[in-house]
Structures are given as C-alpha cells and as structure tokens.
Amino acid sequence: MATTIAEARTPAPAGRASMGGLLKKAVRNYVLRRFIVAFIKVLIVITLTFFLIRLMPTNPVEVYINELITQYGMSADEARNQAAALLSIDLDAPLSQQYIQYMKELVQGNLGTSFRSKGTPVNAMIAQFLPWTLFSVGVSLLVSFALGMLLGMWSAYRRESVGDHVVTTLSSIFSSIPNYLVGIMLVVLLGVQWKLLPITQMRGSMSPGMTPGFTFEFIKDIFFHAALPISTYILTTIGGWTLAMKSSTIATLGEDYVTVAKARGLTEGRIMTGYVGRNASLPLFTSLAISIGFIVGGSTLIEFIFVYQGIGQLLLNSITSRDYPVMQGIFLIITFAVILANLLAEFLYSRLDPRVRVAGGQ
C-alpha cells in the first residue's frame, strides 16, 4: 500500500503546473458532484414527504371542520369557510399547485405557517425548539464518544483481563437495552424510589424566568434540566463506541507499522497516541459525523419521557394536532442534517486518512 502511494506521488513534480491545475479541477468537480447528489436527495425526500403526508387518509382540515361542527354546531359550509380562513390554505387547490406553492416559499427559506398555532411561522417554532435538542444530544454525543474511545483503547490494551471483561460485558448490555427503558428506569429509580432527584422540577429545558446568557446561573440551570436526557443518551450510546474502538484498536495493534514502531524503540506513549490511536479512531470519526445527523431526529422518545422541550416534543405535538407544515418543516430539517452529516463524514474521512485522499488533492 505504502509503496504504491509513493510511486504514484513521485511523478507529480515533473509536470506540476499543468497536472496540479487539472487535478485541482477534478477534485473540485468531485466535491461539486457530491453536493449535487446531496441536493437531489433533499429534493426527493421533500417531495416524497410532501405527498406522503397529504395523501394519507386523515386530513387536518377535516379533523378541524369536524371539531367545529360537533363542538360549535356550525353548518358544514360555515365550518369549511372558517377552517379555510383560519388555516390559510386553499382546500380546493390541486395537490400539484399546493406543491409548487410550497416549493416557491421554500426557496425563499420560508417553511410556511403552523396550522394550529395561528400565524406562527414554522421557522420560528423550529428556531425555538431545535437549540435544546442540539444542546442535549450534542453534549452527550461528545462525552460518550470521548469516553467510549478511551474505554475501548483501555480494554484493547488490557484484553482478557478482568477489567476488559467487565467493560465489554457492560458495554454490550447497555448498548442492547432500548434507550427509553433506561430513561424510564432513571425516572423510577432516581426520582420515585430513592427520591434522589426532584424529577418534576427537572422537566422542561430551563426554569421559568431564567434569562438566557453566558451567566453561571443560566448554564447551571440548563445542565440541571438536561441532566437526565444527557445521562440516558450517554448510558445507551457509550457501549457502542467502546466496542467499536476496542475492535478497531485490536485490529490496528496487529499492523506491521506498529511492530516497526516498536522495533524503532519509540516510547509506548508515542505509539499509543500517534500510531495506534490515530489509525484506530479513523472509522469512528466517520460514524461520529453520521451520528451528528441523527442528533436532530433521534430524540423523540427521550424528550417525551423527560418532558424536555426539544424538536422531538415539537414533532410529537404537531402529529397529535395534525399540523402538517410543522411536521414537514421538522422533517426537512432532520433530513437536511442527515445529508449534511453524510457529506461531512465523507470529506472528514478523506482529510483524516491520507490513503483515501484524492491523489494530489492537497
């Protein structure tokens, strides 16, 4: 592997000016190509979800009209007009026209307005709920990733020891139990049985009357409210990182370059960080980038259990009230995050691993 790269690289200086320019173009095209594919994917998903949501049997307007008729005794026509005025959507417009309208607004960055919270733009709702999800899941992802890498390497270096067996068994147990069960048990054990935590006070994403800002009070408060979701995420994801890092490290320890590094008399610490750690963590960074995409979407159940005001809560609320624009908006954000994260993973991998880097691309 090493020799082929060396051979491929040596002829480069000969015709550097022309060759370099050409290759740069190719790389730029490659990046451009990835972006175009990503853009098409977003487009397909928006279109699919748009029609999927609207072609389903239950229609929010009908639900609302029925509510008006049964609760306020309106006539069918009256209710229909009132619903149309209130929900600000043209009920009789064909789907294709609604779709074009939606896309037109989308191009301008407008996700529409909520059906039920009258006149509230979807953009504003997402801007209000999304930061809490990004904060709670982001912090747990970073902590769990860092701790998992350390534990995994430690296990690999001490494999077949008692410590390794304990870490590996606990990791596989915690990574196979559904995260919402861990969440429920945290509420039941810490909050109800042992009464260690004031569960009801910890609900929400911050205490009422708290002003956001870089104050110690505020930061303490948001960590107090996010503590249980964060603990649940960490407990249920750390095992996966540990196991992945362990097997990756064991595979790397068998590589020739590690033996050579040992033969060259490099210190144990240098080998561990520069040779084993760096190479073993490569595949994990790709998974990390991919998980970032799922930060936004993978939190509904946990936010429901701890009554945490994040994007998952908003999604659930919008489904119970059949608020299509909100549902669609959240979907768009989640899909966008996933696609962006996949792109990031691809580029990150080529940055971190010189073997994957497109030849001459630096």
Binding site: K41, I44, V45, L48, T49, L52, I53, M56, P57, T58, S172, I173, S176, I177, P178, Y180, L181, I184, M185, V187, V188, G191, V192, Q193, I199, F294, V296, G297, G298, T300, L301, F304, G312, L315, L316, I319, T320, R322, M327, I330, F331, I334, T335, V338, I339, N342
Partner: protein, 290 residues
C-alpha cells in the same frame, strides 16, 4: 452445509451452540421467551378482573410480579404480552432480510441501471430518519394490526442490509467456486441459492437478529408513545398504561413497571448475545477446537 448438519444431527448443533457460553445462555433465553409467549398463555390464564383491594400489591406467592393499577396479576400480563411483540419482531426482521437479500443480490448480479436504481432507492430511504418517519406514519395510518406494523417496519429497514449484501455478493461472485458453477452452466438461481447464500448464512442470521431487535425497539417505542392503538396485553401497552396511569410516579408500583421493562430488556439482550453462538455455528472459521 451447517444447516444440513443441524437438521440431521441435533447433538452437533447443540455442541456448536453451547461452545460460546454467553451465546448459549442468550440462545436459551430466546427459547425461554418463545415458550413463555406462545405456550405460556395456555397454562397461565389472563387476569382481567379488577380487584380494588389489591391495587399495586407487593410481590407475593400469589402474585409473583405484584399487581397493576386495577389489581390484576402482572405476571399473567407479561406471559400474554409477549406474543405480539415477538411476532412483529420476527415478521419485520424476516421481511426486511428477505427484501435485502433480493434487492442486494439482484443489484450485484444484474448491475447497470437496475443496480443504480435499487441503490438509489436504498439511499433515499436511508436518508429519511426512521423513527420520526414511523411516528408520522403511525400518526396518519393508525397501525391497528401487528401484521401491518411488521410490514411497515420491514419495508423501511432493508436498505443498509441490502447494501452490505450487495458488496458481499460482488466479492463472492468473483470467487473460484462461483466461476466453476458458472462454467458448469448451473443457472443464476442455483448460483444465488446454492453457492452464494450459504457463504453468507452467518451474516444473514446475525442481520436477521439485529433487524429483530430494531423492530422491538421501534414497535415498543411507538406503542409507548400511544401512537399504535394496539389493545389487549402487550409489553408495550403495559408500559404505556404504566405511564398514562401514573404508575411510574407511584413508589409502590415498582414490580408492575419492572415486569414489562425486564421482559423487553432481557429479550433484547438475549437476542444480541445469541448472535455470538450463531456466528460460530454458521461460520466454521470462527470455531475453535470443536
């Protein structure tokens, strides 16, 4: 090969299974859960009568797992609540594995436009976040039968497996034994079923089990959120009722909550542990000293 031995010689199978201790324990627990859920209901009658004087009774000989919010025996509900969960898990896992095998091997063997079409579809499904999509679908479709739920779960979860299968078929396709079969003109069906699939048996079995755990996660999650209107006894429904009836916040209700929680968690754990034995059983290269 391994499958044929398994049918003809139960002893060998058991020896192979029991070789990995953790895997064997997992396997035994999976069998225990299958018996509990499908045979158990014939021996343990479902307790439907409300007994107001026995609400949240502690663990006793009469009620091994205590009683619930209306004084009914929790153990009987745990015994009766597994059937739907296990059925949906197995069906969803099987559907997703079958679609993945079909799509993956067709993609690899035909190539060209079929390949890019199938992989493009897989790519789009993979891009849409699964659980949020399921929540939306559940909100709109009202999954009132476990079979429908299993189909939707299976239809959404094949893409990543089919990618892996495509890659494996692409590599197996070039092996000598496949070349030999092709030279003998044995036909595509024979090549897929007799030459390529047996080499992927261990991978397929493990993937089936992981698809089952994912299906358990998704279905119980949906039921817990109250989005799947399944009624009757079901571990997910028990959890949901424990939540909505406030049992979660009632200190004396611990045995009632632990019933479904432990059942689901143990079932997931035993499935995951069982994969270790399956890997060894189907893959002779992993076996040591048998």
């Amino acid at each position: 090969m391994a499958a044929r031995i398994a049918w003809h010689n139960l002893k060998t199978t058991l020896r192979l299974l029991s070789h990995n201790k953790v895997g064997f324990v997992g396997f035994l627990f999976v069998i225990f859960f299958i018996l509990l859920s499908f045979v158990g209901p014939y021996f343990v009658p479902l307790d439907r009568t409300t007994k107001l004087d026995e609400i949240y009774a502690p663990i006793s000989w009469q009620h091994l797992l205590g009683t619930d919010f209306s004084g009914r025996d929790v153990l009987s509900h745990v015994v009766h609540g597994g059937r739907d969960v296990l059925t949906v898990a197995f069906l969803a896992g099987a559907i997703s594995t079958i679609i993945a095998v079909l799509m993956g091997s067709l993609s690899a063997l035909i190539g060209g436009k079929v390949d890019s079409g199938i992989m493009g579809l897989a790519d789009v499904i993979l891009t849409i976040p699964q659980f949020p999509l399921l929540i939306v679908l559940a909100g709109l479709l009202r999954f009132n039968s476990p079979i429908l739920l299993a189909f939707i779960l299976g239809l959404l979860s094949w893409p990543s497996l089919s990618r892996a299968i495509r890659a494996q078929v692409l590599s197996l396709r070039e092996r000598d034994f496949v070349e030999a079969a092709r030279a003998l003109d044995l036909g595509t069906g024979h090549i897929i079923l007799r030459e390529i699939m047996p080499n992927m048996a261990s991978y397929l079995a493990v993937s089936l089990i992981f698809a089952m755990t994912a299906a358990v996660y998704a279905q119980v999650g949906l039921v817990f959120l109250g989005l799947v209107p399944l009624s009757g006894s079901n571990w997910g429904v028990m959890l949901q009722l424990a939540w909505t009836k406030g049992a979660i916040f009632y200190p004396k209700a611990l045995p009632y909550i632990l019933g479904p929680v432990m059942a689901i968690a143990l079932f997931q754990l035993s499935l995951v542990f069982a994969t270790r034995s399956l890997e060894e059983m189907f893959n002779p290269r992993l076996r040591t000293g048998v």
